[in-house]
Amino acid sequence: MAVELEFLKSILYFSELSLAELESIRKLVFEKTAGRAEMVLLEGESAENLYFVASGAVKVFKTSAEGKEQILSIVRPGESFNDVPIFDGGPSPASARTMGPVLLYGIKKQDMKTILRDHPHIALNVIKVLARRVRQLLSLVEDLSFRRVISRVAKILFEHIGGEMGRGPRLTQQEMAAMAGTAREVVGRSLKALEEEGAIKLDRHRIVITDKEALQKIMEVPS
Protein backbone atom coordinates (compact mmCIF):
# COMPACT_ATOMS: atom_id res chain seq x y z
CA MET A 1 0.00 0.00 0.00
CA ALA A 2 1.43 3.35 -0.97
CA VAL A 3 1.83 6.06 1.62
CA GLU A 4 -1.02 8.46 0.97
CA LEU A 5 -0.27 12.10 0.31
CA GLU A 6 -3.60 13.08 1.79
CA PHE A 7 -2.64 11.40 5.03
CA LEU A 8 0.80 13.04 5.12
CA LYS A 9 -0.91 16.38 4.63
CA SER A 10 -3.14 15.73 7.65
CA ILE A 11 -0.10 15.33 9.91
CA LEU A 12 0.66 18.58 11.72
CA TYR A 13 4.39 18.22 10.94
CA PHE A 14 3.74 18.43 7.22
CA SER A 15 0.52 20.42 6.95
CA GLU A 16 2.29 23.46 5.43
CA LEU A 17 3.90 21.53 2.60
CA SER A 18 2.75 21.58 -1.02
CA LEU A 19 1.81 18.36 -2.78
CA ALA A 20 5.09 18.46 -4.71
CA GLU A 21 7.06 18.75 -1.48
CA LEU A 22 5.03 15.95 0.10
CA GLU A 23 5.74 13.81 -2.94
CA SER A 24 9.49 14.16 -2.28
CA ILE A 25 9.02 13.32 1.42
CA ARG A 26 6.88 10.31 0.64
CA LYS A 27 9.95 8.47 -0.64
CA LEU A 28 11.49 8.66 2.82
CA VAL A 29 8.45 7.26 4.62
CA PHE A 30 8.30 3.54 5.30
CA GLU A 31 5.40 1.48 6.53
CA LYS A 32 5.41 -0.79 9.54
CA THR A 33 2.54 -2.94 10.67
CA ALA A 34 2.16 -4.54 14.08
CA GLY A 35 -0.44 -6.70 15.76
CA ARG A 36 -2.10 -6.28 19.13
CA ALA A 37 0.00 -5.60 22.20
CA GLU A 38 3.31 -5.51 20.34
CA MET A 39 6.16 -3.41 21.66
CA VAL A 40 7.20 -0.91 19.03
CA LEU A 41 9.63 1.04 21.21
CA LEU A 42 11.63 0.16 24.29
CA GLU A 43 12.54 2.78 26.84
CA GLY A 44 16.31 3.29 26.94
CA GLU A 45 17.01 1.85 23.52
CA SER A 46 18.64 3.94 20.87
CA ALA A 47 16.02 5.73 18.82
CA GLU A 48 16.25 5.24 15.09
CA ASN A 49 12.86 6.29 13.78
CA LEU A 50 10.15 8.86 14.17
CA TYR A 51 6.69 7.29 13.91
CA PHE A 52 3.27 8.50 12.89
CA VAL A 53 0.20 6.41 13.57
CA ALA A 54 -1.68 5.86 10.30
CA SER A 55 -4.34 3.58 11.77
CA GLY A 56 -4.98 2.08 15.19
CA ALA A 57 -3.64 3.41 18.48
CA VAL A 58 -0.41 3.18 20.46
CA LYS A 59 0.13 3.53 24.20
CA VAL A 60 3.27 5.41 25.27
CA PHE A 61 4.35 4.59 28.81
CA LYS A 62 7.20 4.47 31.28
CA THR A 63 8.02 1.54 33.52
CA SER A 64 9.20 1.99 37.09
CA ALA A 65 11.95 -0.06 38.72
CA GLU A 66 9.20 -2.21 40.32
CA GLY A 67 7.73 -2.86 36.89
CA LYS A 68 4.74 -0.54 37.21
CA GLU A 69 3.55 1.17 34.08
CA GLN A 70 2.54 4.79 33.84
CA ILE A 71 0.74 5.74 30.65
CA LEU A 72 1.99 9.05 29.29
CA SER A 73 -0.23 9.28 26.26
CA ILE A 74 -2.35 7.44 23.75
CA VAL A 75 -1.25 8.18 20.20
CA ARG A 76 -4.07 8.22 17.65
CA PRO A 77 -4.06 8.41 13.83
CA GLY A 78 -2.22 11.45 12.53
CA GLU A 79 -0.16 11.86 15.70
CA SER A 80 3.53 11.13 16.18
CA PHE A 81 5.69 9.48 18.81
CA ASN A 82 9.41 9.08 19.50
CA ASP A 83 9.95 12.68 18.32
CA VAL A 84 12.04 13.78 21.29
CA PRO A 85 15.01 11.39 20.83
CA ILE A 86 14.98 11.93 17.08
CA PHE A 87 15.80 15.58 17.68
CA ASP A 88 17.98 15.41 20.80
CA GLY A 89 19.86 12.26 19.78
CA GLY A 90 19.29 10.47 23.10
CA PRO A 91 17.68 7.07 23.69
CA SER A 92 13.89 6.59 23.64
CA PRO A 93 12.56 8.15 26.85
CA ALA A 94 9.51 5.87 26.96
CA SER A 95 8.22 2.57 25.63
CA ALA A 96 5.36 2.16 23.20
CA ARG A 97 2.97 -0.74 22.76
CA THR A 98 0.18 -1.15 20.23
CA MET A 99 -3.38 -1.20 21.59
CA GLY A 100 -4.65 -3.25 18.65
CA PRO A 101 -3.48 -3.86 15.08
CA VAL A 102 -1.71 -0.74 13.80
CA LEU A 103 -0.20 0.73 10.70
CA LEU A 104 2.69 3.09 11.36
CA TYR A 105 4.55 5.42 9.05
CA GLY A 106 8.19 5.75 10.01
CA ILE A 107 10.93 8.15 9.03
CA LYS A 108 14.58 7.41 9.85
CA LYS A 109 16.35 9.90 12.08
CA GLN A 110 18.79 10.77 9.34
CA ASP A 111 16.01 11.26 6.79
CA MET A 112 14.13 13.54 9.16
CA LYS A 113 17.24 15.73 9.29
CA THR A 114 17.28 15.85 5.50
CA ILE A 115 13.59 16.81 5.44
CA LEU A 116 14.18 19.62 7.94
CA ARG A 117 17.17 20.89 5.96
CA ASP A 118 15.28 20.82 2.66
CA HIS A 119 12.03 22.25 4.04
CA PRO A 120 13.05 24.48 6.94
CA HIS A 121 9.59 26.06 7.15
CA ILE A 122 8.18 22.90 8.73
CA ALA A 123 10.28 23.63 11.81
CA LEU A 124 7.58 25.87 13.27
CA ASN A 125 5.08 23.03 13.20
CA VAL A 126 7.61 20.62 14.67
CA ILE A 127 8.12 23.08 17.50
CA LYS A 128 4.36 23.28 17.96
CA VAL A 129 4.14 19.49 18.32
CA LEU A 130 7.03 19.41 20.79
CA ALA A 131 5.69 22.35 22.78
CA ARG A 132 2.30 20.63 23.15
CA ARG A 133 4.09 17.52 24.34
CA VAL A 134 5.98 19.51 26.97
CA ARG A 135 2.78 21.12 28.20
CA GLN A 136 0.97 17.79 28.44
CA LEU A 137 3.87 16.13 30.26
CA LEU A 138 4.27 19.04 32.66
CA SER A 139 0.69 18.72 33.77
CA LEU A 140 1.25 15.03 34.44
CA VAL A 141 4.47 15.63 36.38
CA GLU A 142 2.90 17.55 39.20
CA ASP A 143 0.06 15.11 39.72
CA LEU A 144 2.32 12.09 39.60
CA SER A 145 4.92 13.39 41.99
CA PHE A 146 2.64 14.02 44.95
CA ARG A 147 0.27 11.79 46.81
CA ARG A 148 -2.51 14.30 46.90
CA VAL A 149 -4.20 12.99 43.75
CA ILE A 150 -4.39 9.53 45.30
CA SER A 151 -6.01 11.07 48.36
CA ARG A 152 -8.44 13.01 46.18
CA VAL A 153 -9.36 9.84 44.29
CA ALA A 154 -9.83 8.05 47.63
CA LYS A 155 -12.19 10.84 48.71
CA ILE A 156 -14.17 10.65 45.45
CA LEU A 157 -14.63 6.90 45.91
CA PHE A 158 -15.72 7.42 49.48
CA GLU A 159 -18.29 10.02 48.51
CA HIS A 160 -19.79 7.82 45.81
CA ILE A 161 -20.35 4.59 47.63
CA GLY A 162 -23.54 2.93 46.44
CA GLY A 163 -25.73 0.53 48.37
CA GLU A 164 -24.49 -2.88 49.31
CA MET A 165 -25.22 -4.27 45.88
CA GLY A 166 -24.34 -1.09 44.04
CA ARG A 167 -26.95 0.87 42.08
CA GLY A 168 -25.54 4.02 43.48
CA PRO A 169 -24.00 6.61 41.18
CA ARG A 170 -21.55 5.09 38.75
CA LEU A 171 -18.33 6.82 37.77
CA THR A 172 -15.97 6.46 34.84
CA GLN A 173 -12.23 7.07 35.18
CA GLN A 174 -12.78 10.09 32.96
CA GLU A 175 -15.31 11.51 35.42
CA MET A 176 -13.08 10.78 38.41
CA ALA A 177 -10.27 12.61 36.59
CA ALA A 178 -12.46 15.66 36.04
CA MET A 179 -13.49 15.65 39.72
CA ALA A 180 -9.91 15.27 40.94
CA GLY A 181 -8.67 17.91 38.51
CA THR A 182 -6.22 15.58 36.88
CA ALA A 183 -5.69 13.43 33.78
CA ARG A 184 -7.33 10.06 33.23
CA GLU A 185 -3.88 8.44 33.20
CA VAL A 186 -3.26 9.62 36.75
CA VAL A 187 -6.59 8.20 37.97
CA GLY A 188 -5.70 4.81 36.49
CA ARG A 189 -2.47 4.81 38.42
CA SER A 190 -4.13 6.06 41.62
CA LEU A 191 -6.67 3.23 41.53
CA LYS A 192 -3.85 0.73 41.11
CA ALA A 193 -1.98 2.30 44.03
CA LEU A 194 -5.10 2.10 46.21
CA GLU A 195 -5.49 -1.53 45.26
CA GLU A 196 -1.86 -2.28 46.10
CA GLU A 197 -2.32 -0.65 49.47
CA GLY A 198 -5.23 -3.00 50.13
CA ALA A 199 -7.87 -0.28 50.39
CA ILE A 200 -9.87 -1.33 47.34
CA LYS A 201 -10.25 -4.19 44.92
CA LEU A 202 -11.06 -3.73 41.26
CA ASP A 203 -13.60 -6.32 40.27
CA ARG A 204 -14.50 -5.75 36.61
CA HIS A 205 -17.01 -2.87 36.69
CA ARG A 206 -16.98 -2.68 40.48
CA ILE A 207 -14.64 -0.93 42.81
CA VAL A 208 -14.98 -2.75 46.10
CA ILE A 209 -13.79 -0.87 49.14
CA THR A 210 -12.17 -3.64 51.12
CA ASP A 211 -10.64 -1.57 53.89
CA LYS A 212 -12.65 1.53 54.73
CA GLU A 213 -10.23 2.68 57.40
CA ALA A 214 -7.22 2.42 55.14
CA LEU A 215 -9.09 4.45 52.52
CA GLN A 216 -9.98 7.08 55.11
CA LYS A 217 -6.36 7.34 56.19
CA ILE A 218 -5.27 7.93 52.60
CA MET A 219 -8.00 10.58 52.26
CA GLU A 220 -6.51 12.53 55.12
CA VAL A 221 -3.29 13.34 53.27
CA PRO A 222 -3.55 17.15 52.97
CA SER A 223 -4.34 18.27 49.43
Binding site: G56, I161, Q173, H205, I207, V208
Partner: protein, 68 residues
Protein backbone atom coordinates in the same frame (compact mmCIF):
# COMPACT_ATOMS: atom_id res chain seq x y z
CA UNK B 1 -26.30 -10.72 31.54
CA UNK B 2 -22.87 -9.24 31.42
CA UNK B 3 -22.62 -5.56 32.18
CA UNK B 4 -21.01 -3.79 29.21
CA UNK B 5 -19.53 -0.34 28.51
CA UNK B 6 -22.06 2.24 27.40
CA UNK B 7 -21.96 3.90 23.99
CA UNK B 8 -23.49 7.22 23.14
CA UNK B 9 -23.95 6.77 19.40
CA UNK B 10 -24.70 10.49 18.95
CA UNK B 11 -21.13 11.32 19.91
CA UNK B 12 -19.56 8.57 17.77
CA UNK B 13 -17.99 9.49 14.44
CA UNK B 14 -17.36 5.86 13.41
CA UNK B 15 -13.58 6.20 13.42
CA UNK B 16 -13.31 2.53 14.41
CA UNK B 17 -10.48 3.00 16.91
CA UNK B 18 -12.35 1.23 19.72
CA UNK B 19 -13.09 -1.74 17.45
CA UNK B 20 -9.39 -2.38 16.86
CA UNK B 21 -8.45 -1.84 20.47
CA UNK B 22 -10.92 -4.22 22.15
CA UNK B 23 -9.18 -7.52 22.85
CA UNK B 24 -12.40 -9.54 22.91
CA UNK B 25 -14.11 -8.17 19.79
CA UNK B 26 -16.95 -6.72 21.81
CA UNK B 27 -17.18 -3.68 19.55
CA UNK B 28 -18.14 -3.58 15.91
CA UNK B 29 -19.41 -1.09 13.39
CA UNK B 30 -22.62 -2.51 11.96
CA UNK B 31 -24.38 -0.53 9.22
CA UNK B 32 -22.28 2.50 10.13
CA UNK B 33 -23.32 2.36 13.76
CA UNK B 34 -21.02 1.42 16.58
CA UNK B 35 -22.44 -1.57 18.37
CA UNK B 36 -21.45 -3.42 21.50
CA UNK B 37 -21.77 -7.17 21.71
CA UNK B 38 -22.40 -8.59 25.13
CA UNK B 39 -19.62 -10.88 26.28
CA UNK B 40 -18.30 -12.10 29.59
CA UNK B 41 -14.82 -11.79 28.10
CA UNK B 42 -14.91 -8.02 28.51
CA UNK B 43 -12.70 -7.48 31.55
CA UNK B 44 -13.48 -3.76 31.86
CA UNK B 45 -9.97 -2.88 30.74
CA UNK B 46 -11.42 0.54 29.78
CA UNK B 47 -9.17 0.77 26.73
CA UNK B 48 -12.18 1.54 24.53
CA UNK B 49 -13.09 4.51 26.72
CA UNK B 50 -9.47 5.67 26.80
CA UNK B 51 -8.98 5.52 23.06
CA UNK B 52 -12.26 7.08 21.92
CA UNK B 53 -11.44 10.57 20.66
CA UNK B 54 -15.00 11.86 21.03
CA UNK B 55 -15.85 10.56 24.49
CA UNK B 56 -18.63 8.35 23.13
CA UNK B 57 -17.79 5.32 25.28
CA UNK B 58 -18.00 5.10 29.03
CA UNK B 59 -16.93 2.29 31.31
CA UNK B 60 -18.52 3.33 34.60
CA UNK B 61 -17.65 1.72 37.91
CA UNK B 62 -20.04 1.18 40.75
CA UNK B 63 -18.46 1.69 44.11
CA UNK B 64 -19.46 -0.68 46.83
CA UNK B 65 -18.24 -1.33 50.29
CA UNK B 66 -17.32 -4.76 51.50
CA UNK B 67 -18.72 -5.20 54.95
CA UNK B 68 -16.29 -7.07 57.20
Amino acid sequence: MAEMPIIDTRKCDECGLCVGVCHCNALAIVNNIITIIETVECDWCTDCEAVCPTGAISCPFEIIIQEP
